[in-house]
Amino acid sequence: MTFKLTLAAVTAAVVAAISAGAAQAQITDNVVRLGVLNDQSGIYTDLSGPGGVDAARMAIEDFGGTVAGAKIELVSADHQNKPDIGSNIANQWYDRDGVDAIFDVPTSSVALAVQNIAKEKGKVMIDHGAATSDLTGKACSPTGIHWTYDTYALANGTGRALVEQGAKKWYFITADYAFGHALERDTSNAVTAAGGEVVGTVRSPFPSTDFSSFLLQAQGSGADVIGLANAGGDTVNSIKQAAEFGITQGGQKLASLLVFLSDVHSLGLDVAQGLVLTTGFYWDLNDETRAFAKRFGERNGGKMPTMVQAGIYSSVMHYLKAVEATKSDDGKTVVDQMKKTPVNDFFAKGGVIREDGRMVHDMYLMQIKSPAESKAPYDYYKLLATIPGDQAFRPMDKGECPLVTK
């Protein structure tokens, strides 16, 4: 419904722009159009969804609403976590509606499909919500950027840190689909590289509500750490039930490899406390992040931004600056300009976009506070370590990206 409305609005705007005859040479139809394509009704709604769209809107407002003399417009749509729906919308946006860049696109399968379409058409796709490190690996694109985090950084951050703390033996509970397998693979590699070992794995059907059986198997395995290679509702339920079964009281550690702030909020600190996780952003890191979070919260019912939502703001800003600098909305031209300029904002200091499209920035190893330590709503994380970007992300020559191995 909202999609149809925005579609109508966009069409009207196109007609208006053409009849006004004011199109500039460099910026097609004299409008820079951004599309936020994400999950607005399913399991990833809370971590991105409408909040992600609003983050993009905030960036456009802060930029002033126009760029290089052209108007900036925003459209958004729900891809329902389905690659076919996501592909249809991306095709329509790029071909018919004059969208210049698509942002967010959570769910790895949808992200890979949309990035491929963008690559063929020479259009920009900047991903925040999807996890798979293949976006800047085998599937990399000259006009694609992966902004916020990826499976490699999560695995490397949490996996290595825990092995270094002495947790050598790992047991995985893995969501039985592409994302879970990728996360398990990347984490196993990180664990063995740091001197640990993987003693067992159980593949849970996706999605599951009851993890007690898998937790019991993990409990009996004698592992030091139970690694949860899952996301969203699966993660929330497995953490909650791990608390019920006394996993951590029994001396085992729980490592959740992908946790968003919204998951922690939904779990409550009683059950989530003590968990170690890796994130690309936390709202309470410094004055700048707090300032952004406060503004975001005021517009979004008091919710603090997740790393995905903060990343969208950051990348929209960086994109618009590149359009301003090049006076162009051509995909390749703008992305090349973005790669030339370091990212310096509240989200990332000295962030660099590599040739393969990876935005390299510091990641943070966090531990979830106990209810006693938490002073206010959303006061959830304490910083254990800052992982410098060049250690957090996969080295460019290891990713098999055809753009850089050639």
Binding site: Y44, L47, S212, F214, Q217, G232, K240, E244, S266
Partner: protein, 295 residues
């Protein structure tokens, strides 16, 4: 160490016990479904949504009125049961003389609307609900760590199932109910208010779903999707047990929970499909279900 089919017996016992506990949820939910189908001939597809409402009402009264778990076990089924009575009076009763499909479509639509409503208000990730203080912790049984709350689920649901079965099969009220399904006109002629009986039955079936929802709240996340995740499995349970059979619903509920538990040990990937495999086999051999009477 003695091993049974490659699995140490301790692990096996633990898994069987967990399976039984999951089966308790299947039994409680399929019981309500079977009751509603048996007496109203309505395939109540909104059962999952009503289960979810049960959990949400428990969360809401805790959040906004400070009413805890024990009171919620009573309040929530009453509130949701009354909602069921309202539904029956306003909508469902208009469909009794029509094909099953209309009831199924109506209740399916209702389920989508109820779920959409809660999703709009409370988001997707769900809300936390703590285990009540008296039931926290657990016992080491030697072969597994049994959380007290899981043991409570098992005890409470067996009690509910037995009580419901006894009401239907052993009391005068139950006799009226069973008679009303066989021959409503005759029962009406004896001066028994059959429409009221049917309304109350629907309300009771819905209240059972809500009760299961409150039981589930501390073990799972209170989420708008919790019902739709479960409803398909519960329908399979009812079909395997025999549509409308109270005994069938309870026995298959626990039995399939056990089977699912075993699958989680030997081949976890298949644990979400094993119930449907059983359903296909049962339907081939005994189309009316294990405990169903052939039509």
């Amino acid at each position: 160490m003695m091993e049974l089919i490659g699995i140490p017996p301790q692990v096996l016992f633990g898994q069987l016990l967990l399976g039984l506990i999951n089966g308790a949820f299947y039994a409680m939910l399929s019981l309500g479904l079977a009751l509603i189908f048996g007496l109203l001939n309505i395939i109540n597809f909104s059962h999952g949504a009503q289960y979810m409402m049960g959990a949400f009402v428990a969360w809401l009264v805790l959040q906004y009125a400070g009413i805890g778990y024990w009171a919620a076990l009573i309040i929530s089924p009453i509130v949701v049961g009354l909602f069921g009575v309202l539904l029956e009076r306003l909508l469902i009763r208009r469909l009794y003389n029509l094909d099953h499909l209309y009831g199924l479509l109506l209740t399916f639509g209702l389920a989508l609307m109820i779920e959409g409503f809660f999703r709009q208000l409370y988001g997707i990730s769900g809300q936390p609900y703590a285990i009540p203080a008296a039931l926290q912790g657990g016992t080491n049984l030697g072969f597994m760590f049994l959380p007290t709350y899981r043991a409570w689920i098992l005890i409470a649901s067996v009690a509910v199932c037995v009580a419901t079965w006894a009401i239907i099969e052993k009391t005068r009220l139950g006799a009226y109910l069973r008679a009303a399904t066989e021959n409503p006109t005759m029962v009406q002629a004896f001066g028994i208010n059959v429409p009221l009986l049917i309304t109350l039955t629907y309300g009771f079936g819905v209240a059972l779903a809500a009760f299961a929802g409150v039981m589930a709240a501390p073990a799972y996340q209170v989420s708008p999707l919790m019902g739709s995740n479960l409803i398909i499995i519960v329908f399979a349970v009812v079909v395997i047990g025999g549509m409308g059979s109270i005994m069938g619903a309870v026995v298959t509920g626990f039995g399939l929970g056990l089977l699912e538990g075993l699958t989680k040990v030997f081949y976890p990937e298949a644990s979400s499909t094993v119930i449907f495999v059983v359903m296909a086999i049962v339907l081939l051999i005994k189309p009316a279900g294990l405990f169903g009477k052939a039509a």
